[in-house]
Symmetry: C2
DNA sequence: TTATTATATCAAGATATATTGATATACAGA
DNA sequence: TCTGTATATCAATATATCTTGATATAATAA
């Protein structure tokens, strides 16, 4: 019980303690449902690297997955508890530059 | 500008991503102004270890110091910005066990 | 001054996390 | 079935952090 609560808190703060994940979270918060390949083309990062970080953001409660065919679309989970919501709002307010979005997935062409 | 905001955010989440620091923050939040020696006697940890973690909590904006003679008393900083305040409240609500307080410093004998 | 106490810092080893490249799995369409 | 695409996972290396013990600095009291 005690250990679980602490572990959950540390999992949450650990997910937030990485520049790559903060940028991904901000990008997904801004652009909505995106798949790994969209992030790959937008950020120019290796797929394995993105997949790993997205998994951490998912398992720490920040993202939900929506499967459509071969694609998995990741979005900010709703609703978020107060702490995670405050964290997302803090990240939303961060004055950092993000790449242009380049969608490769087929479900959305509003590039 | 961009880098500073990101670094400040990561410094904050990094401070929260450690079980020892979470326990110290909760303890100080509960008991108020404490010095390193009070934490040493209460937690039974080495002074160098405590000093290091307190420094990280101080430099990440969670604690203030109040010097009195040879003692340095650490308290939760007020006011805290929204994100740090939410983090402290989250930690306050964590159902984890803390040690009994054993004050060694002279300014307070209400053990 | 000297001794004592409180706190800070350093160096080394242990532990944890990030990155990369390769491989594995899952699914859609021909 | 086979092919191509999307995603997940693994192993090895690099990097960062934590802990400990020792040392250094600062302030008080004798």
């Amino acid at each position: 019980m005690n250990k679980e609560a602490m572990d959950d808190f540390l999992k949450t703060t650990g997910a937030l303690y990485d520049e790559t994940r903060v940028r991904l979270l901000k990008f997904i918060d801004r652009h909505g449902a995106l798949c790994i390949c969209d992030l790959e083309s937008s950020f120019g990062m290796l797929q394995s690297r993105l997949s790993r970080h997205i998994k951490i953001l998912k398992e720490s409660g920040f993202l939900t997955v929506q499967k459509e065919g071969r694609w998995s679309y990741y979005s900010i989970r709703t609703p978020l508890d107060r702490f995670r919501l405050q964290a997302v709002e803090e990240i939303r307010a961060l004055p950092i530059e993000l790449p242009e979005i380049k969608r490769l997935s087929r479900s959305c062409y509003i590039d």
